[in-house]
């Protein structure tokens, strides 16, 4: 039995590996792994304390002391980039985790119950859809105050309908297949069939969508920090770094703003490419 369980957990990884994909996707996947590793080991990797600003060495160019220069306040940009990857990636990760779990629960419930439950949930999702994620997040900040918590909760709610609608559609399609009917006829409970049997069959496609969502959530959270509503200084964050470097850009020394901006773009694009390619290939899955 344990061998079977191991087979089930090992399979997605082996499947991903066997799918391979183009060089672009491999590069993007490599970049994502690199960023995750950097975020995990940030305190050991960053050469200096990014919260320590030496006013005498503000806005110096790249050099041996500061590989990517410093910002206006003399903070080391390279160290801030590395330390900032933690908050910049943890925020979207939370958003994606919460919105995916909630979206799966709602989508699966709507598809399984069908009828008026499905209709009511569908209309409610439409209402949530109508609010742009960023707007909801700004509202949440206005009500609950600055910081990470309010925007993350607000954006989890705003991103949930995307997953819920996808799950509902996939589950409806999958439910029509006779293997689901066979499980029911065998006497399995509805909950068991929906969660343990149907969900794993649509899981990979849902995960692909979630990884695309991750990119957008990162972008939105960075935008919030840039507006000064998200992560607050001195906590290093890519969006906040761009915000603090506005003056530097005006003084013709944009490096300390360009570095975190490039990091945001690279991670968002990488997540989109990996997510969409995996999703595309899974869409034509199964024989």
């Amino acid at each position: 039995m344990s061998a079977q369980m191991a087979g089930v957990t090992r399979k997605p990884i082996a499947k991903l590996r066997s799918m391979g994909g183009g060089w672009l996707e491999k590069v993007c996947l490599g970049l994502l792994v690199l960023f995750v590793l950097v975020a995990l080991f940030a305190p050991w990797l960053s050469p200096q304390d990014p919260t320590y600003g030496e006013l005498g060495t503000g806005l110096v160019g790249p050099g041996a002391d500061h590989w990517l220069g410093t910002d206006q306040g003399g903070h080391d940009t390279f160290s801030a980039l590395i330390e900032g990857s933690r908050t910049s990636l943890a925020g979207p990760l939370l958003v994606v985790l919460v919105s995916t779990v909630a979206g799966i629960a709602i989508g699966l419930f709507a598809a399984w119950r069908g009828g008026w439950v499905d209709t009511v949930l569908g209309r409610l999702l439409d209402v949530v859809f109508a609010f742009p994620a960023l707007l909801v997040a700004i509202l949440a900040v206005a009500v609950f105050g600055k910081g990470m918590t309010a925007p993350v909760i607000a954006m989890s709610v705003a991103y949930m309908p995307y997953t819920a609608r996808l799950v509902r559609g996939l589950a409806m399609q999958e439910q029509a297949r006779p293997y689901i009917a066979a499980y029911r006829v065998q006497g399995h409970s509805a909950l068991y069939v929906a969660v343990r049997r149907l969900l794993p069959n649509i899981g990979p496609t849902v995960l692909a969508q979630s990884s695309v969502n991750f990119g957008y959530a990162l972008l939105d959270l960075a935008a919030l920090s840039f507006l000064g509503l998200g992560v607050q200084a001195p906590t290093p964050d890519w969006g906040a770094m761009i915000n603090q470097s506005q003056a530097a850009v005006l003084r013709g020394q944009p490096l300390s703003a360009v570095v975190p901006a490039v990091a945001v773009v690279v991670v968002v694009v990488a997540f989109n490419i990996v997510g969409e390619n995996v999703g595309d290939r899974l869409a034509g899955r199964k024989t």
Binding site: K11, Y179, A181, A182, G187, H188, R197
Partner: protein, 285 residues
């Protein structure tokens, strides 16, 4: 009816009716269907697409609720709604089904052996060693071995998958097994193997078979009696040999003539089919 008769009559269907409503129009899929099935018996339900055969099959396994009528399995009425684990398992033990499409009726993520293992565990076989032995036994019964047991469905042929689906249904040890066009998706030589297998199972286990098919040749091979459905109504219900040698109803004659053979004339069949029209449904049964 005596108690003894109850024990031997596996399945009794009385006055079964099912209609579908779309807006204001009502389409009667099955109307006043009655039949009974004895232990070890095999009944063919024959008809063209849209004649109500699949609706009948789905009502027998509880995926559709009949509008009227009763289904008795071993003398016990099937409950219209199933609540709770015990009721679900009892229902499963009454009737199982093998679906038409072997490519979609097995969970593509799980090996054939694990699928059967899951059915056995659900139905109270707690000991893993006993389950493994029983899985092996069930698969052997349908002619599958260790290699197939360890394979995912997509690694198997259509015939092998349909055997696995039969083994999965048998794992529940149902009183009645419904086969909904179960060999239609298979090519002819594989069809013959699966039909032989079904005859063997019927002889060995005393299970009752309800064989839903559009194919009279297949029904002749497996069933003792056949029931011809046309637009949800019973046209004829007679022993198979008699039905085939001396078809009474024009629709049955048409079905027989529709089987391709050397002097087969598709044009005349489609003409006769049009002439038959809806009027025939009224004059049947």
């Amino acid at each position: 009816m005596t108690v003894d008769d109850h024990a031997r009559t596996l399945l009794q269907v009385c006055g079964l009716r099912k209609a579908y409503r779309t807006g204001k129009t009502e389409v009667v899929a099955v109307d006043d269907l009655s039949f009974s099935l004895r232990a070890g018996g095999a009944l063919g339900i024959v008809g063209e697409s849209g004649s109500g055969k699949t609706t009948t099959a789905r009502m027998l396994i509880g995926l559709e609720r009949p509008d009227a009528g009763q289904i008795l399995v071993q003398g016990e009425p099937l409950a219209p709604t199933v609540r709770g684990r015990a009721a679900r398992l009892a229902r499963a033990k009454a009737v199982q089904i093998v679906f038409q499409d072997p490519y979609l009726s097995l969970d593509g993520r799980i090996t054939v052996g694990a699928t059967i293992d899951g059915a056995l565990r659900l139905h109270g076989l707690a000991d893993p060693a006993a389950r493994t032995a029983r899985t092996r036994e069930l698969l052997a019964q349908v002619g599958l071995g260790e290699r197939e047991a360890a394979a995912l469905p997509r690694k198997l042929s259509g015939g092998q998958r349909q055997r696995a689906a039969i083994a999965r249904a048998l794992a529940v040890e149902p009183a009645v097994l419904v086969l909904d066009e179960a060999v239609s998706a298979l090519d002819v030589s594989v069809q013959a193997q699966v039909l032989n297998l079904l005859s063997d199972i019927r002889r060995d286990t005393g299970i009752g078979l309800v064989f839903v098919s559009h194919d009279l040749a297949v029904v002749r091979y497996v069933c003792d009696e056949a029931l011809v459905l046309y637009r949800g109504r019973t046209m004829e219900h007679r022993p198979v040999a008699e039905l085939l040698s001396d078809p009474g109803h024009p629709y049955t004659q048409l079905l027989l003539a529709s089987v391709p053979r050397p002097d087969w004339d598709p044009d005349s069949i489609s003409r006769r089919r049009r002439e038959l029209g809806p009027a025939a449904a009224g004059g049947g049964a």
